[in-house]
Amino acid sequence: MITLPANAPAGVITSEGLNVDLACFPTRAQYRDLVAAFRADGFEMCVDLCAVDYLSHADRPLPTGVVGERFEVVVNLLSLSRRVRVRIRVQVPESDCFVDTLFHEYPGTEAMEREAFDLFGVQFTDHPDLTRILMPEDWEGHPLRKDYGIGRVPVQFKEAPGPR
């Protein structure tokens, strides 16, 4: 059983997820400190970072004390020495769509955060190069948001001839 590292910020809510992995629900203020504490605790690698848009699931089951927001940034950390994973889920409201970057703890999150920004519009403060990565740089909107209509938006291609 994994527990929170000793120097983790106080008051981080955890839950035993559906499967073995420990899930932590830090607030945005605790988020980066918690990740840094895990990193010091032997979690050498950040394997995955992605965002989820819970537009129609504001009432999803969350541990008591966690207020569900529209966006959630999900981080999967891996400890090679202890062979365990831990999942960190941080809530990001739509009105203030900012969360700290993990670039300084794990430089490998650079591309993943760019992807989350590109597809969901979640901004990572302090990220060194927060530009679009998969979509063209002049694309409008963030296509993996749930309110981004599919099939209704005309395909935008740079310098494409207009409708004939």
Partner: protein, 453 residues
Amino acid sequence: MSDTTKNSIRSIDREPLLVAETSEGPQELGFRRDTESDQLGREMGAVLRLDGRTLDPSAIDFESRDDELMIINMGPSHPSTHGVLRLMLELDGEFVLRTKPVIGYLHTGMEKQGEELSYVQGGTNVTRMDYLSPINNELSYSMAVEKLLGIEVPERAVWIRMLMSELNRISSHLVWMATNGMDLGSTSMMIYGLRERELVLAFFEKTAGLRLNLNYVRPGGVAADLPDGWQDDVLVICDTIDARTYEYDQLLTGQVIFRQRMEGVAPITAEEALALGLTGPLLRSTGVPWDLRKEMPYLAYDQIDFDVIVGTYGDNFDRYAIRLNEIRESIKIVRQCIDMMPKGDYRTQDPKVTPPPRARIDESMEALIHHFKLFTEGFHVPAGEVYSAIESPRGELGCYIVADGGPRPYRIHVRAPSFVNLQAIPLLMRGGLVSDTITVISTVDPVMGEVDR
């Protein structure tokens, strides 16, 4: 032409044609004079900012004038970028100073599409991501769905999955051997690699009916049982490829030109690899013995005897040697699968997940209803979120699924190893020669279908 017309043409205020055509945007590598010093430092030092590894700004040669440096564009349509990878290289003569990979040319929104497909259909979607190892994609996806459903897969299905996934690893590494050979000018390796891969693909076709995008591993088991006489087919594959790997040794491993282009080129340390989140042969080449099959076993890998191949220097040659030897290890695993293959069902008998056999539909109303429900609406998956990871030929292939209780995933995210491994390219290329960029791209082994998804 009179002077007046000349002047009037010149006086037309229009954008310079070249700029408009190359469409410089924020993703691109800019000139040094337009780049801030910390951004320059980041690009020079790739993305490494670890403690004690911060790039010293004085180490950057700010004195280099733009007119001595050249920014060239490589790709997206270049035979040795393995698809549609685009690299912007800043060159000082023959040396690469900065590199910026630009991706997204193959982005087709597969994660978005995955939200519209039912769990039954999802396999056809994920199998197209890493098109060189479709079985591994399906496996990662199916294991995530099964975790959510909480169902057990029959023993035989587990072993069939393992057999097919290892065969797929062989074929994927063979394509790598082939393309790597071609990048280095050894066209015979190109032909040999694809020739051997054909053996595996023929077996896939016999088993699953398709050669490339199989949709063979499905939630609940596999699509079909192994064909009659599969042991002989697989043994022939094993014997042939095993013998041929020693021919590759003769062709490449000891070859002087090959070694000179691979040995000591583009080394990476274990700390850098871990910080960048690299997995698979890239991480193992630095000496970290991390293989999910061994360290966090899934399927039945804990019952099988095989070795994790580890390198020492983290250079191109280590990455080559690891992949070549992983082919041999996979053959070892496949041989054990032949001996230890249990009998029984090849998919779970849960009628809510597995469609009924064709013959049952004619005689049983219930089977007909189940069949109809499965292929129209699909099965419902309990709400929850799950991350499952497996070792694909390129590294950790993870699948993160959020289910909301409906017949379609609410969010499906694939942690693609190539996407993360690509971040090593600026670091690996820094200070190297232009001709080495080809070998670096090749040994990082990105599959653009998976990078862009």
